[in-house]
């Protein structure tokens, strides 16, 4: 038809936006008419961080006149002018349609004056070469980032890809969908798909007998109560498919010669990796002196209700504790300072205000960024912590 259009594809991260675009392009490329007559220009907001780079790459991908080999000649202004000339000199009937796919569209909105976007949408709005501008973004408020003149030229065609939007044909809950996905991702391909897989990977041959056994087993997993509860819990936190795939990859990577079946336990272990608190892990690797300081900080923030703290207050609190308990060795102040700085470097403490003020380091104020629950958990898991210290940690003030 030679129509020009613009559209935005919006959805949270990992909701299959790029997958959708790629599959549509794949289907279209099967049509000979499309394959011969459409030019596709892919731009990515993270790669083409300003309009100059984006233009250079556009001219290169459209294989225009001023491209020799792979180099593009001309300044930004010349390139832009040239590109627009090219696009304007075409008309609806005779020129090839160009499809612009702008990934990370919201980053293109941060460019100077939104020059590139304005010009692309302007061409789409006027009787020139038929172009289609497709923006892919994860920001729902992306329309508000556009300038008014750019907004006016955009056709307000927004496609939302929200996870859990299931078509009305399958009246089932969203979680059943997740179970189905679980089964689908872990199952080996059945008879008609085997050949396709084998063509893709030369060294992959699937014994049909083993395949059917494996699939039966996976199917039995979906009825396992522990498994279902685990999946449900994960699903309640995050519905995106990408994270789920990562989780499955961790589970599948435990398979080996000796361990040939995916047990429920593997999934539980994999989930632990995903759901553990890394701050607590960090605390478990500290020395006893540093743990004592952390406990002192925790108490300080509890007593004084999140007031910022400095080294001196922590030091005094620690010394008070160390003097009461003979089993704790007395340590020199510089050593404690060293431990304090180590904690600071782990970003458990964050400086208040700008740190370039001329303050002695003992009196520099910090904020403590851990919750008391995290500290208590670390104390509980710390192997070989003296009992006095753990008692001190749990003693209420």
């Amino acid at each position: 038809m030679g129509e020009s259009n613009s559209a935005l594809l919006i959805g949270p991260r990992g909701s299959g936006k790029t997958t959708l675009v790629n599959s549509v392009l794949k289907e279209l490329s099967a049509l000979k008419n499309f394959k011969d007559n459409a030019l596709i220009v892919n731009l990515h907001g993270l790669v083409h961080t300003d309009d100059r780079l984006a233009l250079k790459d556009t001219t290169r991908q459209m294989q225009l006149e001023n491209v020799v080999g792979d180099k593009v000649f001309g300044t930004f202004a010349e390139n832009l002018c040239f590109l627009l000339e090219c696009l304007k000199s075409g008309d609806k009937k005779h020129s090839k349609p160009v499809i612009f796919i702008l990934d990370e569209f919201d980053l293109f909105c941060e460019h100077h004056n939104q020059t590139l976007l304005y010009n692309l949408f302007d061409v789409a709005q006027s009787a020139q070469v038929p172009i289609c501008v497709l923006g892919i973004t994860c920001r729902l408020d992306v329309i508000e980032l556009l300038e008014k003149r750019v907004k006016s030229r955009f056709s307000y065609r927004q496609i939302y890809l929200l996870p859990g939007d299931i078509s009305a044909e399958q009246p089932m809950s969203a979680f059943d969908d997740r179970l189905e996905l679980f089964q689908h991702l872990l199952s080996l391909p059945d008879d008609e798909n085997v050949n396709k897989i084998e063509q893709q990977y030369d060294d992959c041959t699937i014994d049909p007998q083993f395949g059917s056994m494996w699939n039966e087993y996976i199917k039995s997993l979906t009825t396992n109560v522990t498994m279902v509860n685990l999946l449900k819990r994960m699903y309640h936190i995050d519905v995106s498919e990408r994270r789920f795939r990562n989780f499955l990859a961790v589970a599948v990577s435990t398979l080996s010669e000796k361990h040939q079946k995916l047990e429920v336990n593997d999934f539980v272990e994999a989930n632990k990796i995903f759901s553990q608190d890394d701050k607590v892990l960090m605390l478990e690797g500290l020395s006893i002196l540093e743990m004592c300081l952390i406990i002192a900080m925790k108490q300080e923030t509890e007593i004084y209700d999140d007031e910022p703290l400095n080294f001196e207050t922590i030091y005094n609190r620690y010394i008070k504790f160390a003097n009461q308990n003979s089993s704790i060795q007395s340590v020199q102040k510089p050593v404690i300072m060293k431990a304090f700085e180590h904690i600071k470097n782990l970003e458990i403490l964050l400086p208040v205000g700008n740190s370039n003020m001329r303050v002695e380091k003992e009196y520099q104020y910090y904020k403590f960024t851990l919750t008391s629950k995290q500290v208590m958990e670390a104390v509980k898991n710390y192997s070989g912590l003296p009992t006095e210290v753990s008692q001190w940690a749990s003693s209420s003030i």
């Binding site: 038809m1 030679g2 129509e3 020009s4 949270p12 790029t18 997958t19 790629n22 392009l25 099967a30 011969d36 007559n37 459409a38 030019l39 290169r60 294989q63 006149e65 001023n66 020799v68 080999g69 792979d70 000649f73 202004a77 010349e78 832009l80 040239f82 090219c86 000199s89 075409g90 008309d91 009937k93 005779h94 020129s95 090839k96 160009v98 020059t115 709005q125 009787a127 070469v129 920001r139 408020d141 008014k148 003149r149 006016s152 030229r153 056709s155 859990g164 939007d165 299931i166 893709q200 309640h236 936190i237 995050d238 608190d277 701050k279 999140d306 964050l350 960024t369 851990l370 919750t371």
Partner: protein, 543 residues
């Protein structure tokens, strides 16, 4: 010439959606499932094998860059010259024959500097190597869609007054050969550029004036406008640098020349330090015998007062102001109906549907582009529904009897209010629709805790730590297992990507502030539907 570089890549799989290629099968499967070694492969126009020792292999492994150029002026829409295509084009006689060998040799001797390439830019639309598409089976829907595309402008209904005013203004100055400046303002989509281009396209206008139209958004900096004007006026500038450009233009204006008509679109892009560029441009008409009519177009009504206050001081510099108001409901419906009647598709829309659409758009922005876009979307929707009804299997139950009668109708169904409303809701509706399972349950709990603090709490500035405390209390009260703090933060950032929250100060994990971005009452209403959520929002004991 013709150096040949050989770069070998460890290619695992061919993955190409970059540029047209004919020799490799398109294959996007697993494009996202695994990271493949993708490689740009520009289709090689002509492979020049210099040394016979090089074995020919397919272009995916060897990237042969050669610097031979054809003299055919290739346009943006160049296609690889397959013999087939060549034949067809030759039969159409719209194709420049490929250059003879002699020519190529001459070319090869010519230096291929970028400047020569750029100078050879000749974008005459001669070398069309695509056949016009056969509009097979073009039905009413398609006609209507084409007619409603925003690029189709011949007449401008609803802008007759402005057009007449402009005509008079230009005629007057043309007869007296005086110069003047005009500033046109108005919101986007009110037909400013369309009106001017319509006037500029009149033949008598073209003959009397030298017209220059420049869109300032294509300028990299404000000062680049001078070079562009020089290029448009085709004055030969002696110096390469842009320093004297302004002086050159002024010299040209002082000399004897045809009446000049200069249109600067989106003139507010030319703001610079102290507005020197804009001032100097607006001062040109006051030069002696400059014979220049300057027209500036922008959105802001008060641009000349706000950033060009010095122009007010001198009477002769004061630009004439003209404002294009937003379209009214009547004008929008007129435009749509005239366009449809021109395309003989006036029965596509019911009059009430047009009224609804026009009323809604006029109430919000009065932007004709948006009205046309929405009407096109509506037609698409109607079209898809029609196709759906045709494809629908005819059963004998009551619901489908209507459909089967619809199939019998040869005339196309006009657009009803229903479709218009569907599209309008898509455009103007809020993004905050909590349909079905838009949020996972834990995220809903988080939002509810936030609302609880906002509604009932005393302290309104919420840190992530405090929110987590409340959230945990909420969860334990309902026997839901709460997530730990790091997971909680990642949940916050997930909700943030939807634009619901804003987390300020991400580095201070527990002390970062959490702000609600959406309208609180709207979110409240959305969550109050669910019994449990309503309980949480009103449960002060968790604070």
């Amino acid at each position: 010439m013709g150096t040949q570089t050989t770069i070998t890549f460890p290619i695992r799989k061919k993955c190409n959606f970059y540029g047209p290629k004919n020799d490799v099968k398109e294959d996007f499967s697993e494009a996202t499932a695994k990271s493949t070694l993708t490689k740009y492969t520009p289709s090689v126009k002509k492979i020049v094998i210099l040394s016979s020792s090089e074995s020919e292999s397919d272009s995916d492994v060897e990237n042969i860059t050669e610097i031979t150029k054809e003299t055919v002026v290739r346009k943006a829409n160049s296609t690889p010259q397959t013999p087939n295509r060549r034949k067809r084009n030759a039969s159409n006689e719209r194709y420049l024959v490929s250059p003879s060998k002699q020519k190529k040799n001459q070319l090869l001797q010519a230096s291929l500097t970028p400047s020569t390439l750029l100078n050879r830019l000749n974008l005459s639309p001669k070398s069309e190597n695509l056949q016009p598409k056969q509009l097979f089976g073009s039905n009413e829907y398609q006609n209507a869609r084409l007619a409603l595309h925003s690029s189709e402008t011949e007449e401008l209904p609803g802008r007759e007054n402005e057009l007449n005013k402009l005509q008079e203004f230009f005629q007057e100055h043309l007869e007296k050969e005086t110069s003047s400046s005009l500033y046109i303002s108005g919101p986007p989509g009110t037909g400013k550029t369309a009106s001017l281009s319509k006037i500029m396209q009149q033949p008598e206008f073209k003959s009397q004036f030298k017209c220059v139209y420049i869109n300032c958004t294509t300028m990299k900096s404000a000062a680049a406008i001078y070079a562009k004007i020089i290029q448009e006026l085709s004055i030969s500038s002696s110096t390469k640098s842009g320093k004297n450009n302004k002086a050159i233009i002024e010299k040209y204006l002082m000399s004897k020349h045809k009446m000049l008509f200069l249109v600067l679109d989106e003139i507010d892009q030319l703001e610079s330090k102290k507005q020197s560029v804009l001032y100097s441009i607006f001062e040109w008409p006051s030069l002696l015998n400059s014979k220049l009519i300057l027209v500036g177009i922008a959105n802001a009504l008060d641009l000349t007062d706000r950033i060009l206050p010095r122009l007010q001081a001198r009477c002769e510099l004061k630009p004439t102001l003209m404002h294009f108001a937003s379209y009214t409901k009547q004008q929008i419906s007129n435009i749509i109906s005239t366009r449809l009647s021109q395309a003989n598709a006036s029965n596509i829309f019911t009059p009430s549907a047009i009224q609804l659409l026009a009323g809604k758009v006029a109430a919000v922005s009065g932007d004709i582009r948006r009205a046309l876009d929405i009407s096109r979307r509506v037609i698409e929707l109607a079209e898809s529904e029609k196709i759906a009804t045709v494809l629908c299997p005819t059963n004998d139950n009551d619901t489908n009897t209507e459909n089967s009668t619809k199939q019998m109708e040869i005339t196309e169904k006009p657009v009803e209010l229903k479709e218009v409303l569907a599209v309008l809701n898509g455009v103007y509706g809020s993004t905050q629709n909590f349909n079905k399972d838009m949020f996972p349950i834990q995220q809903k709990l988080l939002l509810c805790s936030l609302l609880l603090i906002l509604n009932k709490g005393r302290n309104k500035d919420i840190t992530a730590g405090r929110l987590h405390e409340v959230y945990k209390k909420v969860c334990t009260k309902r026997n839901i297992c709460p997530v730990n703090f790091s997971e909680f933060l990642s949940m916050c950032s997930l909700i943030e990507t939807r634009g619901t929250l804003k987390v300020v100060g991400k580095k201070q994990s527990r002390l970062s502030k959490v702000n609600l971005q959406w309208d609180q009452t709207e979110l409240d209403l959305a969550l109050q539907d669910k019994v449990m959520m309503a309980e949480i929002i009103n449960d002060t004991s968790c604070l």
